[in-house]
């Protein structure tokens, strides 16, 4: 069945229940909404990626004129091709905001929670299709506003993705804190509403709509991860909302929540008794759970993909659930590790050091479980599997440096240097991006009914992994030499001059990484239209989504809902004809289900 046939249908009978609008635009179907999130996320990510190449050019060749910079930024922000320092900060800010929130929160959770929750728990759709649609459109609106803010006369928000006041509160402090910052706050407010509506829906769906036999201990780890992620978001995003609202009040109505004793632009300001530290606490109370809101879905997707392609049960299923829960709980009591040097009571710093280092334990357990899953496996290297293994590597490489940052005493020397930038890009950015690609390659057949090309997928994978490490591995050393982040150029310090060739190297890798993504875009859109038609269960997987027909239908299963008889990880179970046993296959006489 081709799309054109559908289109013809619509022309023929306009009063058809499903109009173009209700099917492709204001759709309430989880599968369509998942695709909408994915494509919107990809679009935003392309903007974010372009921005990073622009500021990397400035860092590698500071002060030199480049036609590309002038082309993208115009005469105002890149006169004669030399980037303006305010624009440098603006690009970094919006790049961070887009990547953290729009790609790796909405893009990742939005895509895979919507696609997989109903499919993998055996539900016909989300609990509330309307709220689901609302969640997407709020996200779309917030994306539009964020993009519009790029064209504001005084520039977009520039105070860093963490938007600490007073810098973000006072237009006198930097041009980006004018209208650009207002739009940032409006956009983020919509974004938070979208996340919360979405998250509530995910939780309700998972709790209430599991099909018969789908007990909590038979849920695929993807669903566990998405459930806990949604709970994290629901508990922490409201705090960011209050932080943003209070900032909006300080900016627009003269309140003093975050501001006090400020003299700027020749004037003593009339703010009294506020504290910027309050904002930091509120921000990181979301901010730290947020990094796990990004990471947990990544861990969930890769757990599933690794088990499927290792043809082996995920090792320590219950321990994996346990560590997801432990990480989630701990992630609420570690936020202070971003604030060791704010003047916070040193004793409080000690407490946060302790709790932060505790998180390393469940994280380590997860790594060991991944590795052991590969032990005596029968590994099939699909592109999704390659990206998942890439994530195992990046999660280890980046997580380990967290141990240094967690120690308040060591953080003194590396806080806010490039060491932090290297740490979180590898452990969070790179890992989650790897997992997201893995998810797209793996579930593309489920989303579009066609297969993506494997060879291109493999090339894309190696280009991404190598250039990603090429950017971020050397970067640690910048931080260890004491080079601060968010510097327009390092050329003002003779001490940092010897790093100029490293900056060039990192920029070249960053450009290659960016170009490599076009291989993916090509593969994605080409396969969507011309890829070979997918078989029903291309990866010979156990989970329920692969028992639905390839063509998308309302309600997912043509007849009754499937009934679940076993956990999702019966791969290579002894005594079975095949090396996989779908969850809908009843247990045999005397067969034990689950871990044993």
């Amino acid at each position: 069945m081709s799309n054109t046939a559908h289109a013809a249908d619509h022309h023929a009978e306009d009063h058809h229940q499903e109009t173009f609008i209700s099917k492709y635009v204001f759709s309430q179907d989880h599968k369509m909404i998942a695709k909408q999130f994915l494509v919107t996320g990809m679009f935003m990510a392309t903007i974010g990626m372009l921005m990073s190449t622009l500021f990397r050019i400035q860092l590698a060749w500071p002060g030199e004129g480049f036609a590309v910079l002038n082309f993208f930024l115009g005469d105002k922000w890149a006169p004669e091709g030399v980037m303006d320092p305010n624009m440098y900060l603006a690009l970094g800010t919006i790049h961070g905001t887009i990547m953290v929130f729009f790609l790796l929160t909405a893009g990742l959770s939005g895509t895979f929670a919507n696609l997989l929750i109903p499919y993998q728990i055996g539900a016909r759709d989300m609990a509330s299709g309307f709220m689901n649609m609302l969640s997407y459109w709020l996200f779309a609106a917030s994306s539009v506003i964020m993009v519009l803010s790029l064209f504001v006369e005084t520039g977009p928000a520039s105070a860093g993705w963490t938007v600490y006041p007073p810098l973000s509160a006072l237009p006198q402090a930097m041009p980006g804190s004018g209208l650009g910052m207002t739009l940032w706050l409006v956009s983020m407010t919509l974004f938070i509403a979208s996340s919360m509506i979405g998250g509530l829906n995910y939780i309700v769906t998972i709790v209430n709509l599991r099909t018969s036999g789908m007990s909590m201990t038979r849920l695929p780890l993807t669903i566990w991860a998405l459930l806990v992620t949604a709970i994290l978001g629901l508990l922490s995003f409201p705090v960011l909302l209050s932080a943003a609202l209070l900032l909006l009040f300080d900016r627009s109505f003269g309140t003093s929540f975050y501001l006090s004793d400020i003299f700027i632009a020749g004037e003593a300001l009339d703010y009294n008794g506020g504290s910027p530290i309050l904002f930091e606490h509120l921000f990181w109370f979301l901010g730290h759970p947020e990094v796990y809101i990004i990471l947990l879905p990544a861990l969930g997707l890769t757990s599933e993909i690794i088990a499927t392609n290792a043809r082996k049960p995920i090792f320590g299923y219950k321990a994996m659930i346990g560590s997801i829960l432990a990480i989630a709980f701990l992630s609420f009591i570690v936020w202070g590790h971003h604030m060791f040097l704010t003047g916070m009571d040193p004793f409080l710093g000690s407490v946060f050091t302790f709790t932060t280092l505790l998180i390393a334990i469940p994280s380590a357990v997860k790594v060991f479980n991944y590795l052991t899953t590969l032990y005596k496996a029968n590994i099939r290297f699909t592109p999704a599997m390659m990206f998942s293994l890439g994530m195992v590597s990046t999660f280890i490489s980046g997580g380990l440096t967290g141990i240094i940052l967690a120690d308040a005493a060591l953080d003194i020397t590396v806080h806010d240097t490039y060491f932090v930038v290297a740490h979180f890009h590898i452990v969070m950015g790179f890992s989650a991006v790897n997992a997201m690609f893995a998810g797209v390659y793996h579930w593309f057949p489920k989303m579009y009914g066609r297969m993506m090309n494997q060879k291109l997928g493999i090339i894309h994978f190696w280009a991404t992994l190598i250039s990603g490490y090429g950017v971020f591995l050397p970067m640690h050393f910048l931080g260890l030499a004491g080079v601060p982040r968010r510097y327009y150029t390092n050329s003002e310090f003779p001490l940092f001059d010897s790093f100029i060739d490293m900056n060039v190297l990192m920029t070249v890798f960053a450009i290659i990484a960016a170009l490599a993504q076009f291989i993916f875009f090509f593969n994605f859109f080409y396969s969507m239209k011309r890829g070979p038609v997918a078989p029903q269960n291309p990866w010979r997987s156990n989970t329920l989504e692969w028992t639905t027909p390839v063509e998308h239908i309302h309600g997912n299963w043509p007849g009754d809902l499937p009934v679940v008889h076993r956990w999702p990880y019966d791969y290579s179970k002894p005594g079975k004809a095949e090396d996989f046993v779908p969850q809908i296959v009843p247990l045999e006489e005397g067969e034990v289900d689950g871990e044993h």
């Binding site: 501001l259 090792f315 302790f354 334990i361 005493a409 004491g482 078989p535 871990e595």
Partner: protein, 399 residues
Amino acid sequence: MGFLLGFAATLLAVVLIVQIIRVFELTSKLSGNDQSKVSFKDNRTRAFSWLLFMIWYFALFIWVVQKWGPLVLPEAASVHGETIDFLFNLNWVIILIAFIITHLVLITFILRYYARPGSKAEFITHNNKLEMIWTVVPAAVLAVIIIYGLKTWDEYNGDVAGDAINIELYAKQFDWTARFAGDDDQLGKANFNFINTSNPLGLVTEQTIKIRIQELNDQIAELKEELNHVPKDGLKESQKLAAIHHKETQLSKIHAFRRNNELAKNAAKDDKLVKVEFHIPVGRQVNFSMRSQDVIHSAFMPHFRAQMNCVPGMVTRMRFTPTITTAEMRRKTGNPEFDYLLLCNKVCGAAHYNMQMNVIVDTPEDYAKWLAEQTTFNAKLMATLGLSETDNQLAQNIQ
């Protein structure tokens, strides 16, 4: 040169992509189109590509360590910094061991267990003993790091020594000022309501009180004057009224200062303000207090392993005892141009990247000499105002 390099890289990548797409279209026509299977041959190639990757990854790591390792911060130049460095090295050892072992295990399993004709996976779901071991071992290692780390942190936050030198670091967009106590060994009071061009730190002395009172009175008078003469304009008028109100509030605060701080108000008079570069003596604790005029900054002195944010509306503190003079460090690093640095390490606006100061660690004698050469705040203030009789004039105006 740089441009060429970037251009060449871009060009290369574009050519690469075009070629890849060509090859892709050809091969996908040639080979079958089943994208859900991985042939054993491809599977083997992909498994071994992981080996190549691991070799590359470790090689990159070694190369980077060799090339840029020597450029990391030199040995700590403060007492607590030495403890920090020890802890840092301990952490590195643990991290590297964990990094190498896990990656070796990863590549071993990949090479050992990739699917090949007739191969099968074993059904292993969990192993309580193993899981217990790998929970307890990291926990024990972390316990060591935590205990040692907290001890080091406590040392950094230790008590102020009796003979510590008090220095204030004052941050504003986009420079630093260091303030040393004068002969009274006391840093005088400061308040943001006193800030003006002749007194950027808002120090409170007899003179600055008078100057500010006069300045504000003048401004208020001017605004009132304007209100009477300028034609009515709703918006402007309300703005002016607000400005008058704001300045009157400031004035009353300054008067309050005057009443409440009789004793302290002259301590700032002999304070010494320096920019661009400041000196500290080796072997004596320096006790910094930090303020900011406008946005958050961060006083970062990487060589001393010291950092603390400067937050408007509050005073933050840090202290350390330098152990190596600048001259000695120049010898040790073999860099005659070496200087200790104070950097701003919290994004604070357009020129954040260039908000710096040099720190010179002197012998105690040189330090005393240097400090004696610095002029006091009051002397500078009088010089900017022109005359010492300004003092009297001001006094009269205020009565």
